[in-house]
Amino acid sequence: MRVVPILMLLTAWAVAEEAPEAAPDAAALEALTAAYNQATSAFFKPYREAQAKGEEYALDYSKHPRFTYAPKFAAMAKKAKGDVALDAWVMALRSGYRNRAEAIEAILADHIESKGMINVVGYVRWEKNGDALMQQIIARSPHRDVQGFAMLLRGQTMLRRGNPQAERVLAAAKEKYGDVSIYRGRFTVGEKADGDLYEARHLAVGKKAPDIEGEDVDGVAFKLSDYRGKVILLDFWGDW
C-alpha cells in the first residue's frame, strides 16, 4: 500500500480547502456587469430586428437575464468588501433581486456613509419601514447630495401615500438642499420639490382642481371648466 503519496494527497487537499477564496474585486464585478449587459442586449435583439423591419415581436419576459443575474450579483456582494460590495448590491437591486430587504439591510449596515448611497435611496423609499430608513440615511450620511436626495424622495413618497406631512418634508428639502444637483445634473432638488409642493398644496383630495386649457386631438381648444356640473374622471394616459 502506498501510504506516503496518499498522505501527501490528503494534505494537499486539506491545504487547498483552507486557503481563503480572494474577495471579488472591481474587475470581477465589471466582468459580471458586462456579461449581464451582453445577455440583456441579446435578449432584446429579435425585438429590435423586428422593429427595424416594421414587424412585431413578442418578447418572453420570463426569459430576461435579470432572473439569473440578480442572484449572481447578490452572491458577489456577500463575498466582496468595501465599494465593490456596495456596487454589487446596487447591481443586484437594479436587476430586480427578490430579497430587497436583505440587500438594503446589508447596505445600511456597512455602507450608509458611502457616496454610493445616492444609488440606493431610490430603493429604500418603498420598503415597509422605508420612512424610518430614509430618516436614518439623512441623519447619518456625511454627503449633502445623499441627504438632499433622500429628503426629497422621503417627501415624495409621503405625497404618493397621501401623508399630510409631505408638504413639511418637501419644504424642508427645498430650503436646505434646493441647490443640490440630482439625476446626473438634469435637475436640482429645488426644482423637483417645487413640482411636488404644488401637488401637495393644490392637487390634494379636497382642493379645487386648477383649470386646464388646451387643445383636443383634433386641434379644438377647450377647458376643463367647460364640463363643470359633471363628475369628471381626469385620466392622464398614453398609448405607448
Partner: protein
C-alpha cells in the same frame, strides 16, 4: 383602460359624468388612428408628450394617473382603480343628481 372607459361612458349615458383624458403620445396622427381603432369616445387634451405643460403643471410622473373631480370641480379621489373607482363615480354622480333636483 379602454374597455373600462367605454363601459363607464355607456353606463352613465345621459347622467352628469364625463371622462376627460390628457394624452401624452407624441405622434398626433398615429394617436387619432388609435382612438378610432379602440373606439375611445371621450375627449382628450393633447399634451404633446409626457413632459408637456399640462402633465408638468399637474406634476404627473407616473402614467396613468387618475383624478376624480366632483360636479363642483373639487378633487375627491386620486389614483383609484377598478371597483374603488366605480364606487367613487357612482357616489359622486348621485351627489350631483341630488344637487340638480334640489334646484
Amino acid at each position: 383602460m379602454y374597455p373600462h372607459g367605454r363601459s363607464l361612458v355607456k353606463k352613465y349615458d345621459n347622467r352628469p359624468f364625463v371622462i376627460i383624458g390628457v394624452n401624452s403620445d407624441q405622434d398626433r396622427a398615429k394617436l387619432k388612428e388609435r382612438i378610432q381603432e379602440e373606439n375611445i369616445t371621450w375627449r382628450s387634451f393633447w399634451a404633446g408628450s409626457t413632459g408637456g405643460p399640462i402633465p408638468k403643471r399637474w406634476n404627473v410622473t407616473g402614467w396613468p394617473t387618475i383624478y376624480v373631480l366632483d360636479a363642483k370641480g373639487i378633487i375627491r379621489a386620486k389614483n383609484v382603480r377598478g371597483p374603488q373607482l366605480d364606487t367613487w363615480i357612482e357616489k359622486l354622480v348621485q351627489e350631483a343628481e341630488a344637487a340638480e333636483t334640489k334646484q
